[in-house]
Symmetry: C2
Subunit: 666 residues, 2 copies
Amino acid sequence: MKDYAQLWLDYKEKRENKDCEELKRFTFSGADKEDVIVKNASAELTRGLAAMLSIEPVIVCADTAVPLEETDGEAIRDNEEYRICIKDGGIDIAAKSGKGILYGVFDVLRTVAVEKSVKAEYAEEKRVRPSEPLRMLNHWDNMDGSIERGYSGESFFYEDNEIIVDERTKDYARLIASTGINAVVINNVNVKQAASYMITDRYFAKLAELGEIFAGYGIGLFLSLNYASTIEIGGMDSADPLDEGVIAWWKDKMAEVFKKIPTLKGFLVKADSEGRPGPFTYGRTQADGANMLADIAKQYGAIIIWRCFVYNCRQDWRDRKTDRARAGYDNFMPMDGDYHDNVILQIKNGPMDFQIREPISPLLGGLKKTNQMLEVQIAQEYTGHQIDVCYLIPMFKEILGFKTYCGGSKDSVADIISGETFGSRYSGIAAVTNTGNDFNWTGNYLAGANLYGFGRLAFENGLSAEQIAEEFVRMSISGDKEVVDTIMEILLPSREIYERYTSPLGIGWMVTPATHYGCSVDGYEYDRWGTYHRADHLGIGVDRTDKGTGYALLYNEPNASMYNSPEDCPDELVLFFHHLPYTHKLHSGKTVIQHIYDTHFEGYEEAKALAAKWDTLKGRVDEEIFENVKERFGLQLVNAREWCDQVNSYFYRKSGIEDEKGRQIW
Amino acid sequence: MKDYAQLWLDYKEKRENKDCEELKRFTFSGADKEDVIVKNASAELTRGLAAMLSIEPVIVCADTAVPLEETDGEAIRDNEEYRICIKDGGIDIAAKSGKGILYGVFDVLRTVAVEKSVKAEYAEEKRVRPSEPLRMLNHWDNMDGSIERGYSGESFFYEDNEIIVDERTKDYARLIASTGINAVVINNVNVKQAASYMITDRYFAKLAELGEIFAGYGIGLFLSLNYASTIEIGGMDSADPLDEGVIAWWKDKMAEVFKKIPTLKGFLVKADSEGRPGPFTYGRTQADGANMLADIAKQYGAIIIWRCFVYNCRQDWRDRKTDRARAGYDNFMPMDGDYHDNVILQIKNGPMDFQIREPISPLLGGLKKTNQMLEVQIAQEYTGHQIDVCYLIPMFKEILGFKTYCGGSKDSVADIISGETFGSRYSGIAAVTNTGNDFNWTGNYLAGANLYGFGRLAFENGLSAEQIAEEFVRMSISGDKEVVDTIMEILLPSREIYERYTSPLGIGWMVTPATHYGCSVDGYEYDRWGTYHRADHLGIGVDRTDKGTGYALLYNEPNASMYNSPEDCPDELVLFFHHLPYTHKLHSGKTVIQHIYDTHFEGYEEAKALAAKWDTLKGRVDEEIFENVKERFGLQLVNAREWCDQVNSYFYRKSGIEDEKGRQIW
């Protein structure tokens, strides 16, 4: 018995496909049987079918081919595409590389695990091509074992500043590869203390070992880099990207690093952000910094991923001209086209920071000549700390589907990060992950749906949130239809419920400072983070129109005009873009204040209903899972009640306007 | 050169008394020259006069007497009283014990240090009797070296869970004895981790050593006790004060402790408070708990000091019936008379927790048959963290002078804690101290005035805040008249200035949660601590009248009627007792809202004026002191501006009422 759950690779016994003869014979077409990924794929297939169906398949490799060299995103996607069909009474999985084979194997195992008929599923050839070339998880794990914004225990990568490589490491690789993840950053973007030494002898051996394990599952290893490494570990007094000494140091360092960690694919850098060092310190541009590193990394085929989370985190709350929402755009748009072609800018989905509702960053659809990667967060920093159930895939679907009007028919966010809109060399999607060394990996067992779902959605943008939720439940909890339906009824509306009992109409940030869990309406109102609601006796919201900070105009038309107009702006974002009287009528017909009251009362009631639904599952799901989620719901309801009552009381006390329905406000 | 300042025992060279012949001959009347306290007194006198006046005095002990046995507060005061006069061309210091002699010596050294004429000062016999028998400092030092609510570095008593006894220990004893302190609790009332083992072999040797040093300066050693020691270190499963096993354990433990630490005078206990264990857990009363310990301690002549800081720290902010202000009274009044005569109840000055302005606890003047001790705080937890200058002696003067109307003519708080009002066996005053291992002991050098002043005021209640401030400045900074006047102009109004730019009209608690530094108007408003301002669009304040929580009626008449009436209640406390419209007219003629605006703007301006005054001292005071205070003023002004702007903005945004003077509100 392992001391951690197997989640969706639990491989419990299944009824469907029991007598499926085709599952006894597999051909891996294009596979090299000496390829470690192919070996891992075979082992996984054998293990899964044995456990689920007591089948021991015969696996044959045929038509061995050499994978494409992965010099751009298209080549990656070509290598990872797979086709599955029934052929000659067996199943044929065809791909250009071991990775494609592996993904195909997980497709078959998933089909069996969710108890779909294999015969039906593969009656016609099924062909799947990954939507994005890079599908990445970002760990914010610190080397002391803590995890920044981690709500699932400690790190399983580090303990006491040493790297852990054990059985769990490999199972982690299996778990995420099975969802379609092909890249991982294993350390916090805030590279501090011991982590600065990640690129020194002290850690090379373990990193090489870790990288090998990941590579066996088609996962590229990336490291977060301390931009000021020349100072922190190089003993130099500068990190100026144009300084010859700095450049020379990096040349030597990268030669060493890529030699010692042959599987390393590149680096993630958070520079000039929230107190981190960066090129601005030396009067250089972000492009100067990124290109310097990228030019050196290029000969190793490596990539520099550069985060766009750069803003003034020392804003004066009295200052109404500075707008944090503009910062990413203002800092990065002027250099569109200046970044070299192995640099990718990593852009958070919204212009602020992972709130429950934000507009899409205008950099997405703004930048046209720059490799781009979308960053989302499945660590529930602002969305309930994996205490509150908050299934995020519906939000990610909205983000991917957002039409940027950047030109042409392929202008959605999904199109941009697939690389197709602008023919980008590299592109992709990353999630700040929600894992830790808790038994169930994600704190709340249901938060596993976000880990699973992110990978699946990244691989196949076309999947619906419902499909993904159903897969997760069937594979990880139970195939019983009533159980599946009940849990889907919990997961699917949970994001909107969380939104309703927390911050209304896109305003965000009414959270307890620093921890970001729980309500504090004024928590950030008089602080330095650029996150204000500007509520007074008469109204609330931030004027980001042409009469305010002008942020709305950063979008392409017709989005700019839509957001700029209080009449046309969607209700759910109206306070993000406009300062409105409490008596302003929304499209819903409600006033702003009545919307606040109604959604908060409803959201809390809905949260209670979710908890009650979960209670009906007692005895019908694994007891440990049942108790884990039940305990979380207990905490969620306390939290939801506080949000409901505090937000309503705050606005009632401030506006003096009664609730039309006369409910209890304190 | 020591690595800490000498403060008021700096003994710089002085002009006055240069030719004073009388200072060359001293008689200690009643002193036993073998008494270590007398030896320390002689050494101090010799050292001080040598340094200040280059005089080497001849000291003779005469009329040796045996001190009174200190079985009650009166005996303590008798022993500590001293008389000084000029006799036979020398100075005669007479007392019933070495402690009295020591205090007399410090009186003479003080006279020399502040450059008063010794001849004039002692022309007639000067007789000083300490106002309170117990004059105590409470350290909230933890054994890991941290200090709860410490703003002056780390502990000088502990490091890495070991006790430090070194030269600084002795200098600390000298410093506080010189002000009149005669008792010290050396560990945090929240007794956790290693501190629970303070009463075990692990620490006895060091404690005995420490106790000896203190005893040599007339300072009694006290320890904070973990009420649940039977469980924490005794391996039992109960701390029920009526349990025979528990009682037996304590009998053995105390026999051991008092044998191993012969100088130990007793214990301070925080029970059933803020999560600490206590007798309530076992359905017993506070008296049950205190008396059990006291009965055992009695045979060692020891005292149990029991804190009255018991309240519900898990209040629902929606609950307007529960009133934290009532808690001390409601918990402790019903058992008045039940506490045994070596128990002292330690009562915070206000009913809440050391806010810049609170009414006096109604327990003071309520309890009539119980030993009482007043607790104040010179650690500036809510009063500026030793960043902001806040000279607290004027506040303590108000507290001591408060007329409780508890019967008879001696009915002030000072009378009660002197023991005279009710003929209490023991009584006194304690301050949570503001020291740490910073070079200057108190973080901000000017905060030394609170350490010095607390001791002086405790010894002589009749001293004015001005006298004390002047002594502190002359002894610790400079005797230059302009410098003295300037610093007094900074110290004396500083408490009212801090009040003005922070929380108005007695409302309190508008501070950043947890840290308690800086403004957060709603910081505690929706929290569990029982600390609310209840501000809405129309008004602010807590109704504690007969129509509200009834707290006002806990006072004796006429105080009860005064506080119960919004017309009669003093302005500075009006929002503590009443919920009032912003338009309510105060005695000052201003409305509540205009008072808020005016005091905040003024307070900030006044803080700037204090800082400017300090700047005029450049080159006229020690540079290290100058720079230390200047740096603190820099931080204070940032803080004061935030308070001013945030409070004004908060109430403007909430009330919608314009400032009459049209100043900038954000």
